[in-house]
């Protein structure tokens, strides 16, 4: 497949790995924000091939992991209502709320429909005029335009039986929250390439400057990831704190303007609770008042879904903040496995713990 296969070329990846080896002179902690990047790093074994001085830390860029228990409970509640269809990306189906998961309630007869696109929700609503169709709108900025387009199309068609349960999150406030932590050990960031495709990367420039941290816009194929890591290492070795773009075929500094206009037309910032991290101000998106009729929170009484989080031996918060690796958790691969997850990062295929578990380093296994 064009623009994928070329970036999985083994000779080119080896070349870049060698270039990084010759550049690095000390240990650097580099965080990749996006769960998709975590997945790719571990799937392709990139962390195995890199010099030991490069310490890749897996950040909280997995909406599955960071969507609050309360939101999941609300989605489950909605799915359990009569004459209701809850539409969701497949990612969210297995994530447990306080008591159960969307997949489980689907198994018991509730109407939960997996969709590939938020626009599928519109089609389902048109096909089912007597049912309330609710889309569980999770995601980072990459997904926000698609979620916004679904709402816009619903309004255009004057649909009365469709709404959104908004649980969207934004990357820059989370990055600032991580960097503001006095114990933060992160030296540099690989920024989520497709988030930047939509939003551009100008909003990261003041962050890089303020926190003296290089931020490199990075893609998802092995060559893209390694180029991002190489640029980050170069900046760190040179003592430079700036934003650089290692994914120019997909990202421009200004981003996708029509997409940004659409997001601003439909959504506005709000405080958002991140599972494992707590509330981060202005780190989420909610529907603007003029789209209130499409807000599931106005159509359903969701006040009873407290979704309280409790303290346990799960160290999801420290994993998501990059303070510890999954393998440093005492429960990892013992009490906590994908079959018996103690925390969200083990549930999601993109979660640091699950991805680490799935692609357990076979070199380590030999010890």
């Amino acid at each position: 497949m064009k623009y994928i296969d070329e970036y999985r070329n083994p000779a080119i990846t080896q070349q870049i790995i060698n270039e990084i080896k010759h550049t690095v002179t000390r240990t650097w902690n580099i965080m990749e924000i996006c769960g998709g990047q975590t997945h790719a790093i571990l799937r392709f074994g990139i962390d195995l091939a890199l010099s030991p001085e490069i310490n890749l830390i897996h950040g909280p860029g997995c909406p599955v992991c960071v969507t609050s228990v309360q939101k999941i409970d609300q989605a489950i509640y909605i799915a359990q209502q009569p004459n209701t269809i809850l539409c969701s990306f497949g990612d969210m189906l297995r994530v447990p709320g306080s008591q159960t998961s969307l997949l489980s309630v689907r198994g018991r007869g509730c109407s939960v429909q997996t969709v590939y696109s938020p626009l599928d929700t519109i089609r389902i609503a048109v096909q089912n005029p007597n049912k309330e169709v609710v889309f569980f709108a999770v995601g980072f900025e990459t997904t926000a335009p698609a979620n916004a387009m679904a709402v816009k199309k619903a309004k255009e068609l004057s649909l009365k039986n469709v709404s959104l349960l908004c649980a969207q999150v934004l990357v820059p406030p989370a990055m600032v929250a991580l960097l503001s932590d006095p114990y933060c050990q992160i030296h540099g960031f690989l920024s989520a390439g497709h988030v930047c495709t939509v939003m551009g990367y100008h909003e990261y420039e003041p962050i890089a400057e303020t926190y003296k941290t290089p931020i490199v816009v990075t893609g998802f194929e092995p060559v893209d990831l390694l180029l991002g890591i190489k640029k980050c290492v170069q900046l760190l070795e040179q003592g430079k704190y700036e934003v650089q773009n290692a994914y120019p075929r997909a990202v421009k500094r200004e981003g996708n303007i029509p997409a940004q206009r659409l997001i601003h037309e439909v959504f506005q910032p709000c405080d958002q609770h991140w599972r494992g991290l707590g509330v981060i101000p202005n780190s989420g998106l909610k529907l603007r008042p003029e789209y209130a009729e499409y807000d599931a929170e106005t159509k359903f009484d969701l006040s009873k879904n407290e979704g309280l989080e409790h303290v346990s031996i799960c160290i999801a918060g420290e994993i998501l903040q990059g303070k510890k690796k999954p393998i440093e958790c005492p429960a990892f691969a013992k009490q906590c496995t994908p079959e018996n997850p103690l925390g969200a990062p083990m549930v999601s295929n993109e979660g640091a713990c699950s991805a680490y578990y799935q692609y357990t380093r076979h070199n380590n296994a030999q010890q």
């Binding site: 999985r8 074994g45 997949l103 303290v311 103690l342 076979h362």
Partner: protein, 353 residues
């Protein structure tokens, strides 16, 4: 009920309250949860040496004649999907389980559990398919049963098929026959069936529609025995995909398999659909694909035989068996790095992250 599953230590995290001590959908997924259920519930209860064979069919000695005996249940939704229906799955699935044990499939029983409200024309279509597939595979449906249950949606049907056949290779292929140095061959491209069912069930439309590879494998397997190819082990790559089949056999044989990702055939349509949906084709179910463990000196002959029987297929030598390296399955991936290819705990779902 005695529960041998590991219990979480936490007493507060909401995640902990997920379904412990209860069956969840993933228990039927072909992954680690299902294997835990078998290991901790069924095997201790039924405890006998036959179950320790750990193969698709069990081999019984009936006064010196080796019979293979198997059973399977089919709960697929939707009932019809591109390339087949639940009836075709039921016949081919049981025929294939017998073939994987080295047997010539002969007789099948069919048990229907029908939901009240099911359209009889739907049932007729499925039954006609089963008759057709049985004839193609050379098996007779010799006994059956029917039950009706209260329906939720009026379109439900579940089928159980059991089958017997006469073993055609001694010793029969089994995980315990696998040896270091064996090559691992696959009879064609992977990922079609799971995508066909997923697309139909979740209404994710592709052009052209992805079709299941559901097919009986009896003929191609028996041909190996007829040509005196020593087959150490066979396994069809159904629920959980190629990766699950490899992991199961690696665990049972206590050996390590090294797989070359570049050699595993994947069609362009499956590749494209998997990339869009974020699925790994190694974990997508197949219903017409199997792996065979063959000594090195018979690899070329086997691949040629398969190609002669099915000229449209893409059979490949995808890997080799080595001594135990603590990791059951090692994948040499497309960028040349060796990573573990583990078992998944449940079914893959489409993702956007």
């Amino acid at each position: 009920m005695d529960n041998n599953f590991k219990q979480p230590l936490s007493w507060g995290c909401p995640i902990d309250r997920v379904e412990y001590g209860k069956i969840v959908l993933a228990h039927g997924g072909g992954g680690t949860l299902m294997h835990q259920l078998i290991k901790h519930v069924f095997e201790p209860a039924f405890a006998n040496p036959f179950l320790q064979q750990h193969h698709d069919s069990t081999i019984l000695d009936m006064d010196g004649i080796h019979l293979a005996f198997t059973t399977d249940s089919f709960v697929v939704k939707p009932l019809f999907f591109p390339g087949g229906n639940i009836g075709k799955l039921a016949i081919c699935g049981t025929v294939n389980d017998l073939a994987m044990a080295g047997a010539c499939p002969m007789y099948i029983s069919v048990g229907f559990i029908l939901e009240e409200g099911l359209d009889i024309r739907t049932l007729q279509k499925i039954v006609d398919t089963m008759k057709y597939e049985g004839d193609c595979a050379g098996v007779s449906i010799v006994t059956g049963d029917t039950k009706v249950i209260e329906g939720k949606s009026g379109d439900g049907m579940y089928i159980n098929t059991s089958g017997i056949g006469i073993v055609r290779q001694e010793p029969p292929p089994s995980p315990f026959q696998i040896q270091p140095g064996d090559h691992i061959l696959i009879n064609g491209d992977i990922g079609r069936h799971g995508l066909a069912v997923l697309s139909a069930r979740e209404e994710i439309h592709f052009e052209p529609p992805l079709e299941s590879d559901c097919a009986s494998l009896g003929t191609i397997i028996l041909a190996m025995f007829e040509n005196n190819i020593p087959v150490h082990c066979l396994r069809d790559c159904t629920r959980g995909g190629l990766a699950s089949a490899l992991n199961e056999l690696a665990q049972d044989s206590q050996l390590t398999f090294i797989i070359d990702e570049n050699q595993v055939p994947i069609r362009d349509d499956v590749r494209g659909a998997c990339e869009i949906l974020g699925l790994n084709p190694f974990y997508v179910a197949n219903e017409g694909r199997f792996i065979a463990f063959i000594p090195q000196e018979f690899v070329s002959e086997t691949l040629q035989l398969w190609k002669d029987l099915e000229p449209e297929s893409i059979p490949k030598d995808i890997g080799v068996v080595v001594d135990n390296r603590n990791t059951p399955v090692i994948l040499k991936n497309t960028i040349g790095i060796e990573v573990s290819l583990p078992m998944l705990s449940g079914e893959q779902l489409p993702r956007i992250c």
